[in-house]
Amino acid sequence: MEMITSLLAGILFATGVYNLLQKQLLRIVIGTALISHGAHLFILTMGKLKRGNPPIIVEGVENYVDPLPQALILTSIVISFGVTSFLLVLAYRAAKTNDTDNMDELRGNENE
């Protein structure tokens, strides 16, 4: 299963990168969201999947899944949420101010 989740993470990365390379702002934000999903899945996979119970201590149960990656992912989810929402509003404002959401039209000045 780890192989398949790795592959899934790879596909998430690939689609994320492809979206990132598009011209439209919204797609770029979608791309970052996909990449962060991929990364989360990646972290979980690297910590081995499904080797025991959920990490909530119950008397008599010896075998639990690794709790550390879960804690890391939880932190990461929150941060990526913050960043994504910021990006989204930024994209919204940029599109509003410049009347375009085309990255090619949002270039800096030639002589900067």
């Binding site: 780890e2 596909i11 990365f13 492809y18 390379l21 499904k50 550390l68 804690a71 989204l88 990255m103």
Partner: protein
């Protein structure tokens, strides 16, 4: 000695205040006592009983970088030149520069330069030496560009800066290597390790780097091109920096390291060749010039080449002649520059084609020029010092020996020496006769010429008196000074083999006579062969090469920068990703990082597969949909799919958070999308799509491979057992993930809260605070 270095610097700090009342007292008068008192101090050191001594002052002892100062014959000679000619130049400049000039700037730069030169010649520590070396480049740059409203000044200053700093940096490289090889930073201590240095594998580099530094500073071929352009500086500067002091810093460096380097035959080959070529080229080019200072600049180049060549010979006579000529050249060249300055000052031009017949109008200046030029030409008169050193030069060139390449070179050198000296004679005579004899072209002169004020004449008179004194009683200077210098350069006592002025029937004298005879012929028939100069060097001019190089470098670097910095964010992301791909894949291939045979893998189950397939489809669909609502919802599908995977992989907290966050994100997207333009059909060329797609696919594949490979390489057990064991005991909680988040790794959580807070504030500000549209520009 430390006083000598720092006194000028300290005074330089006060110059701005002193120059405030420059209209009543010329600022130069405040400066004059400094070099003069140093000169007096150094003069007291001179004597037959002189012996070297050193002083040391801590600077950065932990790195062995200190002000280790060392005074031997060589540095004493240079110290005398710097302080002596420095005093004369300051005196001269008092009369030369008008009070309306920015005197404060001038004397600050000049004092800075003086201090730096003292530092260069007195330093025993290579890093202190390098520090002062660069300070001379810097202050010279400022002095050349003194009249910074002139384009020529700025061009000359930039050129000299580029070339000398290029050499300076290579010198630093050489000195660093020397330090590494010998494990000491003191030059005197390096002398004791000659064998180590010669036999080290880096010796070639050391030699090359240090030579490059010395040749660029001393305007040797082909790095001489900055010197003629440095003539844009005020004449006192040219006289001081570009004849007597700075350009001799390279000579000093070669002389300083001579005992080490001369053990290698490459020293002879390189230094002699460069010196002789510079001598010939410089003297040839000098005849071509029409500007008085231009002639003197190329003459300086050629004389420096001669000194360099003599150092390269490395024999006792040659070294003696070299240090003797350093002194001689400084005296007559300094006086000639001052004479040129006087002519410029009194007639308003330096163009030799407009000058002529000034002999009767400016008799004193003319007299001074006679001694200067004739001494420079090496005319065989027993009261001109230039003749003695030229004679010694010929003598030294005749007694060279070596094997192989060195032998061939030794055979050619005397002829080249004569060849160069003929042109030296020609331009010297041209300089004098062209200016002071011939017809008087009154109409072409901007000002009516008359004799210079006495103040301006004092300095050149003193220098010319020195020329004659050295010429008449050389023995006095020999025993008191030159002997010590030659001894400290050669590293062994000199025998008194210096009765050079008795050899009237020797070959050197015959060579001198040939030079005079042929030179006189060439001068007389100058108009017949002047056309040669138009043809040679013509297109081969090194200035053109320099300009081309500078121009090309600028153009190419701007082409390259504009090539990849096109302002498109996509381009940059692409480049970053490609670099990442190449780096990662390359590293994996090179280090056997690839491990694609999975072990210890969990079984595949049907519900998981179902979710995975769903996610894959959704992820792919984000690419192909052109409907913004659809894109957002599909993104939601991926997020919820991930949440389900979290459930399946027994991460309840994750699943919970992921669900909530995904919901909020989708809601946010939906809030914003109304205001974003519709996702249009993309008009991308097939090539762009192909590139993007292949980057994306490769990147995904790379991440997969990295994942699988790293999954297979587990070197140690996870630390999670500790968390599981102590969660209840120490943390007092049963949910291990939560205990980790708030107890064991609580700091992460604190800052993650900070991130959310900052994001919220930023979003709030972005929406709330906006400039009014009209007020933007």
């Amino acid at each position: 000695m430390l006083t000598a270095i720092f006194l000028p610097l300290i005074l330089a700090c006060f110059i701005p205040f002193l120059s405030k009342w420059k209209h009543s007292i010329h600022t130069g008068w405040f400066v004059l006592p400094i070099p003069f008192s140093i000169f007096v101090y150094l003069i007291t050191q001179v004597g037959t009983q002189f012996s070297p001594f050193e002083r040391s002052y801590s600077w950065i002892p932990s790195l062995q970088i200190n002000f280790d100062l060392y005074l031997d014959g060589l540095s004493l000679l240079f110290g005398l030149l710097i302080s002596g000619i420095g005093s004369l130049v300051v005196l001269y400049s008092v009369y030369y520069l008008h009070k309306s000039e920015q005197l404060g700037h001038f004397y600050v730069y000049l004092l800075m330069f003086m201090a730096a030169m003292f530092g260069v010649v007195f330093s025993d520590n290579v890093f202190a030496l390098y520090t002062f070396w660069e300070l001379t480049s810097l202050s010279s740059f400022l002095l050349i560009g003194y009249w910074n409203h002139r384009k020529g000044s700025r061009y000359g200053a930039l050129k000299s800066m580029l070339i000398t700093v290029f050499g300076g940096l290579s010198l630093l490289g050489g000195l660093l290597l020397l330090t590494i090889v010998t494990d000491t930073t003191s030059i005197q201590a390096m002398m004791d390790q000659k064998e180590t240095i010669i036999n080290s594998p880096q010796f070639g580099w050391i030699l090359g780097f240090i030579f490059l530094g010395a040749f660029t500073k001393s305007a040797q071929f082909p790095f001489h091109i900055w010197l003629p352009d440095a003539m844009e500086a005020p004449t006192p500067v040219s006289a001081y920096l570009h004849s007597a002091t700075m350009v001799k810093a390279g000579i000093f460096l070669i002389a300083r390291f001579l005992p080490i380097f001369s053990m290698s035959e490459w020293f002879f080959i390189i230094v002699s060749t460069v010196g002789i070529v510079t001598l010939c080229w410089g003297s040839y080019m000098a005849v071509r010039q029409t500007d008085l200072k231009g002639i003197l600049a190329f003459s300086t180049i050629s004389q420096l080449g001669m000194i360099m060549a003599m150092l390269g010979f490395g024999t006792k006579v040659a070294v003696f002649a070299a240090v003797f000529h350093i002194l001689n050249h400084a005296t007559f060249k300094g006086s000639l520059f001052m004479v040129a300055g006087i002519i410029d000052h009194e007639t308003g031009t330096r163009d030799i084609r407009k000058l002529g017949g000034l002999m009767t109008l400016m008799p004193i200046t003319a007299t001074l020029a006679v001694f200067g030029t004739f001494s420079m030409a090496g005319v065989p008169l027993p009261f001109l010092n230039g003749f003695y050193s030229k004679e010694l030069f010929f003598d030294a060139s005749l007694h060279l020996e070596g094997e192989g390449l060195a032998q061939t070179l030794a055979a050619i050198i005397p002829y080249l020496a004569v060849f160069g000296s003929i042109f030296t004679f020609v331009y010297s005579m041209y300089l004098f006769f062209g200016t002071f004899r011939g017809e008087y072209k009154e109409k072409e002169l901007p000002q009516k010429p008359h004799e210079a004020p006495i103040g301006m004449l004092i300095s050149p008179i003193i220098l010319v008196l020195l020329v004659i004194t050295i010429g008449l009683i050389p023995e006095l200077f020999n025993s008191a000074l030159i002997d010590h210098v030659a001894e400290s350069v050669k590293g062994e006592p000199m025998e008194k083999e210096i009765k050079f002025w008795h050899g009237w029937d020797g070959t050197p004298l015959h060579m001198s006579l040939i030079v005079v005879a042929l030179g006189a012929l060439l001068v007389s028939f100058r108009s017949y062969w002047a056309g040669v100069y138009k043809a040679v060097p013509g297109a081969l001019s090194l200035n053109k090469a320099y300009d081309w190089l500078v121009d090309r470098t600028e153009k190419y670097s701007s082409t390259i920068t504009n090539g990849y910095m096109n302002g498109s964010l996509r381009r940059y992301v692409r480049l970053l990703l490609i670099a990442m791909l190449l780096g990662t894949i390359g590293t994996m291939l090179l280090t056997d990082g690839l491990a694609l045979n999975p072990t210890d893998v969990e079984d595949v189950t049907f519900p998981e597969m179902l979710v995975v397939i769903m996610m894959v489809l959704a992820a792919l669909a984000t690419i192909f949909t052109n409907n913004r609502i659809a894109a957002i919802l599909i993104l939601g599908v991926v997020g919820y799919g991930l949440a389900i995977l979290f459930v399946l992989y027994r991460a309840p907290d994750l699943a919970l958070t992921q669900l909530i966050i995904e919901t909020v994100t989708v809601a946010l997207f939906l809030l914003v999308f109304m205001h974003l333009p519709e996702l249009r059909k993309r008009h991308e060329s097939a090539g762009t799509i192909l590139i993007n797609a292949s980057i994306a696919i490769l990147f995904g594949a790379m991440m997969t491979i990295v994942g699988i490979s790293s999954y297979n390489s587990k070197w140690f057990d996870p630390i999670s057992d500790y968390f599981l064991e102590t969660s209840v005991k120490l943390g007092g909680g049963h949910n291990v993930v939560n205990v980790i988040l708030v107890d064991m790794r609580g700091l992460d959580t604190l800052f993650e809260i900070a991130v959310l807070g900052i994001a919220a504030l930023a979003i709030f500000n972005m929406i709330k605070l906006r400039r009014k549209k009209g007020a933007e520009e």
